[in-house]
């Protein structure tokens, strides 16, 4: 069955893939050849082909994280040719298609590189640091039941839209991988902005930002030096503006006399 571009020719590629058995063992780059790759394949489908080949040869397939393959779950996390999620702007690895590469290309595939994201195996990393940052304050403290009618909290459309834009972060960690300091500022700022913009987030606004930033530091993420690679490489277009909001929120909280936390 032909794909959307019946004229596209299959490709042969060389892959340089990071292989590491587990967290305790040192890893290395290993070369593999893959043949007859359709340009309509997604990048992960190309890796599926490699893994089926390896398994047939009795070799250990390459471990990598993936799930929805629709660009929304945030599982996939490959550093391709030195870029988070590869060469296409605003795209997760699972939505990157092989038509963006050419026959004969050599492609380097690495896991996210950051102290706060230790490697589990091969290309799979541990991003539980992000969960712990959310646990530090990335919520509105409401219990189930007793919420007022949804329309009792009117929110101007432009505010709701801005909050939504920030809330679309998929938590993949591309921002950290793209940053030379391995900073998590874009991730943290997206959640802080969403809740700082909305009326529901006002009550805990100051403690939230302080606690989340403190947790970010504990996890070992680097500082932000305003280069902007994070936003440039973010697959869902989380804006650098959020970091400005985070900084303002943080300073306001620190300076606030009523903040006793």
């Amino acid at each position: 069955m032909a794909g959307s571009n019946p004229n596209a020719k299959p490709m042969n590629l060389t892959l340089k893939v990071w292989r590491q058995p587990n967290r305790q063992t040192e890893g290395q780059m290993v070369d593999y050849q893959v043949k007859d790759i359709s340009p309509d394949m997604s990048f992960l489908e190309m890796l599926d082909v490699l893994n089926e080949d390896l398994l047939h040869q009795g070799q250990d397939p390459v471990a990598f994280d993936h799930d929805c393959r629709e660009g929304i779950c945030g599982s996939c996390d490959l550093f391709i040719n030195g870029r988070s999620h590869g060469p296409e702007k605003g795209t997760t690895t699972c939505q990157l298609h092989m038509r963006k590469f050419s026959d004969g290309d050599t492609i380097t595939i690495e896991p996210w590189r950051a102290n706060a994201f230790p490697v589990n195996k091969d290309l799979s990393v541990d991003r539980s640091a992000f969960d712990r940052i959310i646990q530090a304050g990335g919520y509105v403290s409401v219990n189930t039941g007793g919420a007022p009618d949804g329309n009792e909290i009117p929110i101007p459309k432009d505010i709701a839209d801005r909050a939504f834009e920030a809330a679309t972060c998929i938590g993949c960690g591309a921002c950290v991988a793209a940053c030379k300091n391995a900073s998590a500022m874009l991730f943290v700022s997206a959640k802080v902005s969403q809740l700082a913009l909305l009326p529901q987030g006002q009550v805990e606004r100051q403690t939230r930002v302080e606690n989340m930033v403190a947790q970010m530091d504990i996890e070992g993420f680097g500082a932000c030096s305003n280069i902007g690679s994070c936003a440039a490489e973010c697959p869902v277009g989380i804006s650098l503006e959020n970091i400005a909001i985070l900084n303002r929120e943080f300073l306001t909280a620190k300076a606030a006399s009523n903040n006793l936390a």
Partner: protein, 644 residues
């Protein structure tokens, strides 16, 4: 076993309130003496875990993902239904109930569906309070849109990412309880068995997917919120990890499996492009609000399109057949999913399909772009259009989308009573993994509603009733049933590793998926189903002789994980076929070719099949035993569904 729904007596509208009053309560000081295991952290699991922890229970939450936020609920696009009637267009709890019962082709339990419609309004309030950024009107109030199978506008949404926003809301509530120490979170932990002690669910066996370690966990009750089994078809819109293992392990330990053949084929997915395809991508049903579905009027014209001789946008209006608008003038492009899917298949079977494979129809936005603007369309559907272009390399602003039906959701699942308890006391099932609310066909924007209803508003009440009757003594994993279950899990892993065959788990999975799609998919008949049954038995036998997995069980081993899931699909597949063979009628997503009206619509047989088919596992490779829960309809009249 006599299946009783335990739905309370009395008028429909009073059942739930009455039941909430009648259930036993656990006093606040005693709640901390009870442990509850929740497996799965999607909408149903995360909301249940958070709500139970808020009540004071000690919760252990398990997910095989690296984070609770990755659960497949995140990929739901279109929206969540709620009977708020904010639009003043005639909606009500009863209408949502009625639409859902009718949409499910009268194969769901009235009391459950009515409760779902009742608590739908609380879901919206809860999510707004959490800071879920729903779409809003300029006046600051919540916006709605229409969805298939309804004539009112009751779907709340967050652009094309509603599931993501709702899940992140539930995830935030869960995270808060983790921070409070009321939920202990186990990530990258896959459930591989249920532990039953003296007839009651008392724990689970899990495998740590990073270290390979097998662990046992005890609790006073276990909630499964582990999603659907659509991946039995290999290609589906489900995420790659979605599987039936948790539900199937529970089934083999005594939980009945209900209506396994009720699977939903979603009409608007991006068509298959090649053999390498690993999954299918949905284009939200909300697109049918503005997109018009059509194929060329003649086979000749369709052939020219397939060969690339003519472009769809150059085909004249007169040469197009907007078949849904033609056949169903009242609902038009917004007919329910089963009807839309079946009609798309009929067009392709007639030879009027498009795309190089001929297995696609058009979903066209030219009219709405002309009527409003490309920008307005982008505001509503921007992310979906982008996704379509990334996958197909075609721009849907300039040419119509090509779509084709694909497996999307499974209405069947673990049988549960009104309390969402399975046939194993102490084992509950919430969300897609139970069978409870959608009958034979689920309406769009109702999956999110059901997941959150179960987790936020049903389980927290009903589980208390069970716990109140259980002694608040500490539970441990000391009972021999734990060691036995653990040994069983380990032996199975070793068995798969020892086969050292020639076929990969994926190859087996594709083979099974092909059989399921061909013979137990959009259209089924007795002959095909019998053929499928024999084929599945053959594949299953081969699997246990010839599967190839390398490495060991004491490490991260994704091929091993996959093999375990495929092994369970190979058992489930046969039960689905048995169920489809047993149900000699057509209803909702279950279309038996032998049973159709002269117009080709599904022909139900209410006299003989107005029941839930609940299957009991007996032993490996033995036929399962069918139990029937008769469905009683006191508040709706069973009619042939008409969307004309």
């Amino acid at each position: 076993m006599n299946l009783t729904s335990k739905a309370p007596e009395g008028p429909l509208a009073e059942k739930w309130d009455k039941h909430k009053f009648n259930v036993k309560l656990v006093n606040p000081a005693n709640k901390r003496k009870y442990d509850v295991i929740v497996v799965g952290t999607g909408l149903a699991g995360a909301s249940a875990a958070a709500s139970l922890a808020e009540l004071g229970y000690n919760v252990k939450a398990f997910t095989y993902h690296d984070s609770p936020r990755r659960a497949h609920s995140i990929a739901a696009q279109g929206g969540v239904n709620a009977a708020k009637n904010y639009q003043n267009d005639g909606d009500s709890v009863f209408r949502l109930f009625y639409d859902t019962i009718k949409g499910g082709d009268y194969r769901a339990r009235e009391a459950n569906v009515y409760r779902l419609a009742q608590v739908s309004v609380n879901i919206i309030d809860q999510c707004v309070a959490q800071g879920v950024p729903f779409a809003r009107e300029y006046g600051g109030l919540l916006a709605n849109r229409s969805f298939g199978g309804a004539q009112v506008s009751r779907t709340f949404y967050a652009r094309g990412q509603t599931g993501q926003q709702l899940l992140l809301g539930a995830y935030s509530a869960l995270s808060r309880q983790v921070a409070y120490g009321k939920v202990k979170l186990y990530t990258r932990s896959e459930l591989l068995d249920i532990v039953v002690v003296d007839g009651q669910a008392r724990g689970i066996v899990t495998r740590n997917l990073i270290t390979g370690e097998t662990q046992t966990h005890a609790a006073h009750a276990v909630v499964l919120a582990t999603g659907g089994y659509g991946n039995v078809f290999y290609l589906s819109t489900n995420a790659k990890y979605c599987n039936v293992t948790a539900a199937w392990r529970a089934h083999k330990k005594g939980a009945y499996f209900a209506n396994p053949c009720f699977t939903q084929i979603h009409p608007t997915c991006i068509p298959v492009s090649g053999d390498y395809q690993s999954k299918l991508t949905l284009m939200s049903e909300s697109l049918r609000n503005d997109g018009r579905v059509w194929v060329p009027k003649t086979v000749e014209m369709a052939e020219r399109v397939r060969k690339g001789e003519i472009k769809p946008q150059d085909i004249q209006e007169d040469d197009r057949d907007y078949f849904l608008e033609r056949k169903y003038p009242a609902f038009g492009n917004l007919v329910p999913r089963d009807v839309a899917s079946r009609n798309a298949k009929m067009m392709c079977d007639e030879g009027r399909g498009v795309g190089s494979s001929g297995l696609a129809v058009y979903l066209d936005f030219a009219d709405v772009i002309k009527r409003t603007s490309a920008e307005a369309v982008s505001q509503k559907y921007g992310n979906l259009f982008e996704m379509y272009e990334k996958i197909t390399d075609e721009n849907p602003y300039q040419m119509p989308m090509r779509i084709y039906p694909a497996v999307h959701y499974t209405m069947g699942g673990l049988w549960v009573d009104y309390n969402l308890q399975t046939t194993i006391p102490g084992l509950y099932a919430a969300g897609e993994c139970n069978f409870s609310d959608h009958g034979a066909n689920r309406l769009g924007a109702s999956a999110l509603m059901q997941g959150l209803a179960d987790g936020y508003f049903v389980i927290p009440y009903t589980i208390g009733d069970y716990l109140a009757q259980t002694a608040p003594k500490p539970v441990t994993t000391d009972h021999p049933a734990f060691a036995e279950a653990k040994a069983g899990v380990q032996a199975r892993v070793e068995q798969m590793l020892a086969i050292k065959g020639n076929k990969t788990p994926d190859e087996f999975h594709k083979e099974l998926g092909h059989i399921m799609w061909e013979y137990c998919g959009m259209a089924r008949n007795a002959e095909g189903l019998k053929h499928a049954k024999a084929e599945i038995q053959r594949i299953r036998k081969e699997f246990w002789q010839n599967v190839k997995v390398v490495g060991s069980g004491e490490e991260m081993n994704q091929a091993l994980e996959k093999a375990g899931r495929v092994a369970d699909f190979l058992e489930l597949g046969e039960l689905m076929v048995d169920d489809a063979l047993n149900r000699n009628e057509s209803c909702g997503g279950h279309f038996r070719e032998e049973y159709q009206t002269p117009e080709g619509e599904a022909l139900r047989d209410d006299d003989h099949y107005a029941y839930v088919a609940a299957w009991e596992y007996t032993a490996d490779n033995q036929p399962e035993v069918l139990h029937k829960e008769e469905l009683v309809f006191e508040n709706v009249k069973l009619t042939q569904r008409s969307y004309k």
